[in-house]
């Protein structure tokens, strides 16, 4: 056992990275099972979000007192705003106000994915700007990084909750409130990358040729930080979807009439004993979505950023 064990551990460093030089990065990414699995699941979810109105849904905010607390699969009637009576099958049942849970869950996909992607982009932009400045303009480094340390000392969910409470909840305030506590991590990453890259000969060459500081930062340094940032962005997207759901679930996020998975679950917890599906169905969608993004992120990390893959 011991002998075979040893060689196995020694091979580890080679095995974990597994890079063949003749392959392009894109070929490696495409071959990764995790990227394929996570990407495919995410593609399906994006399709659901885009096609929400044509998937047999009704207006997710429409309610009918006559169709309250229906179990999944039961048919019932709904009065539309125009006064028409609509026959509708409640595939996932209805909630205590008589809203169609299926429609709410399907439309909820839109909110979750939108929040995830926009938060990831916002915090990447914020983190890149701050990180480039901290890493390249040395006298600002101390100030920026101390502020980042301070933000990181406050748990992300608490910052988000407090900010939303100050600003009153809406889609834009929720997105900004979730993005702010994610910025320090990106800033740290970009700064550390910049500190390594700025010592490279091509940066020195650019300085010697008299390139301006913004040109060096955005033209020479930034392109070389892309791979780890894509990976980081994916993980932020997953975290943002989770935090949005938590805010809604706690009742401090988006207003309750907006169909989000967290809101559906918050509504469903009142009658959880009798109708557990109201909590579980959006919970499954939420878990699958976050899982898909995380698996995609793992795959991207292993293929785009092998150095990081070896560390974790």
């Amino acid at each position: 056992m011991a002998a075979t064990g040893d060689t196995r551990y020694e091979e580890l460093s080679v095995e974990a990275a597994d890079i063949r030089p003749h392959e392009t990065t894109w070929q490696r990414v495409k071959k990764s099972g995790s990227v394929r699995l996570g990407g495919a699941a995410l593609a399906v979810l994006l399709l659901i979000a885009a096609a929400a109105p044509w998937l047999g849904t009704v207006d997710p905010t429409m309610f009918d007192a006559g169709s309250r607390d229906l179990v999944p699969g039961k048919a019932g009637e709904m009065m539309t705003l125009d006064g028409d009576l609509l026959r509708h099958t409640f595939w996932f049942g209805s909630d205590s106000l008589g809203r169609d849970i299926y429609s709410r869950v399907i439309y909820g996909t839109r909110v979750s994915l939108f929040v995830g992607v926009v938060v990831a982009l916002l915090s990447l932009v914020g983190g890149i700007l701050l990180g480039l400045v901290a890493g390249y303009i040395r006298w600002l480094d101390g100030v920026i990084m101390r502020v980042m340390d301070g933000i990181m000392a406050i748990p992300a969910i608490l910052i988000a909750i407090a900010l939303v409470a100050m600003w009153r909840p809406s889609l834009s305030t929720v997105i900004i409130a979730i993005a702010i506590p994610e910025i320090p991590r990106v800033t740290r990453l970009v700064r550390s990358l910049v500190l390594t890259i700025r010592e490279e000969p091509y940066v020195e060459a650019a300085i010697s040729l008299g390139s301006s500081t913004p040109k060096i930062m955005f033209g020479h340094i930034l392109p070389n930080t892309i791979a780890p940032l894509v990976v980081q962005g994916t993980f932020i997207c997953a975290a943002a979807i989770l935090i949005e759901a938590i805010l809604s679930f706690l009742g401090v996020g988006l207003p309750p009439e907006i169909p989000t998975w967290g809101n559906i679950m918050a509504e469903g917890r009142i009658a959880f004993n009798e109708y557990p599906h109201t909590v579980f169905i959006p919970g499954i969608f939420l878990t699958v979505t976050v899982l898909a993004v995380n698996i995609l992120g793992d795959g991207l990390r292993d293929t785009l950023d092998p150095k990081m893959a070896k560390r974790i």
Partner: protein
């Protein structure tokens, strides 16, 4: 050594100062009159004026910060307008449930995750290792409240093993106390186990590649001795570090878990304070949690000296 402790203690001051500035700015950046916000929606004009006086809100911003910081340093976090008691007193009342929940969660997580991580590293690449890595991705992805409701439904409602909700203080006897705390702690420990198992596996794996492991095996030590007293002992520093960093995750989870299980702790207090826009309490709780996070990580840094005798400061 003492010099290091002093230096490390001093280094937490800038972080805490920044946290204080951020929490202070949080309220000043809010649109509207801070005095009116602090006083709450039901306050009279005299009450608002009173708050304006005590906080010096008619003074310039740096002076306001000075007054505010002075009060904080004296341990005065203001008065909750909703509960009508001092915020410090409020935090004191709610501390026991949260502390018990967090402590039991950490104990469960360590007892489960460390052995799992060690075995996964020992059988690197095998089915157990892959299953654990799969679980850890799942553990990061499944929201705390989904785990909570799943356990409530399965273990409490269907099997009837544990109470659905509620909390019993330690004064009511240790049995009932633990009985009510087990399910919430298991719920909260899932994400912590995922994190801890992953780091344990990675650091034990690294240790197993070292020469002293080969020596230990060559001496004829049993595999369990090799794993525990050689590999795990050398992997302790990163494991303890991640326990410290994970506290931030734990605090976020506490807020949600206490809401699911109706535990009257600090997490519930935070949510209730936000819902009633009780700003002195929100400020107080954020400051308190941040202080805990900074202090825990300070203790983690100090523990390196014990865990790894090679580290000397």
């Amino acid at each position: 050594m003492y010099q290091f402790i002093a230096r490390r203690l001093l280094s937490t001051i800038p972080v805490l100062a920044i946290v204080a500035v951020l929490v202070f700015m949080l309220l000043r950046l809010t649109p509207g009159d801070p005095a009116a916000i602090l006083a709450g929606d039901a306050a009279s004009t005299e009450q608002i004026e009173g708050i304006r006086k005590t906080l010096g809100l008619d003074q310039p911003l740096p002076v306001q910060f000075g007054i505010w910081l002075g009060q904080m340093l004296q341990g005065d976090l203001g008065e909750s307008y909703y509960y009508k008691v001092r915020v410090t007193e409020l935090i004191g009342q709610r501390l026991e449930p949260t502390l018990s929940l967090a402590a039991l969660t950490i104990v469960i997580a360590i007892l489960v995750a460390v052995p799992l991580g060690v075995v996964a590293a020992w059988r690197f690449g095998g089915w157990f290792d892959r299953a654990l890595m799969g679980f850890s991705v799942f553990g990061f992805s499944v929201p705390v409240f989904v785990v909570g409701y799943l356990l409530v439904w399965l273990v409490s409602l269907k099997l009837g093993w544990f109470p659905v909700q509620g909390y019993k203080p330690m004064d009511d006897g240790f049995g009932p106390f633990l009985y009510h705390l087990v399910l919430p702690s298991i719920t909260l420990s899932v994400i912590y186990i995922a994190l801890l198992a992953r780091v344990t596996r990675a650091s034990v794996l690294e240790a197993l590649g070292e020469d002293y492991i080969r020596t230990a095996r060559a001496k004829g030590l049993t595999e369990s001795r090799v794993l525990i007293s050689h590999a795990l002992a050398n992997a302790a520093v990163p494991i303890v570090t991640i326990i410290g960093i994970g506290i931030a995750l734990l605090i976020g989870g506490v807020v949600v878990t206490e809401s699911v299980y109706a535990i009257p702790g600090l997490g519930r207090l935070t949510v209730d304070a936000v819902l009633s826009r009780d700003f002195p309490t929100i400020q107080g709780v954020i400051l308190f949690f941040s202080l805990v996070y900074v202090v825990v990580n300070l203790l983690v840094d100090l523990s390196y000296v014990i865990l790894d005798p090679r580290i000397r400061y």
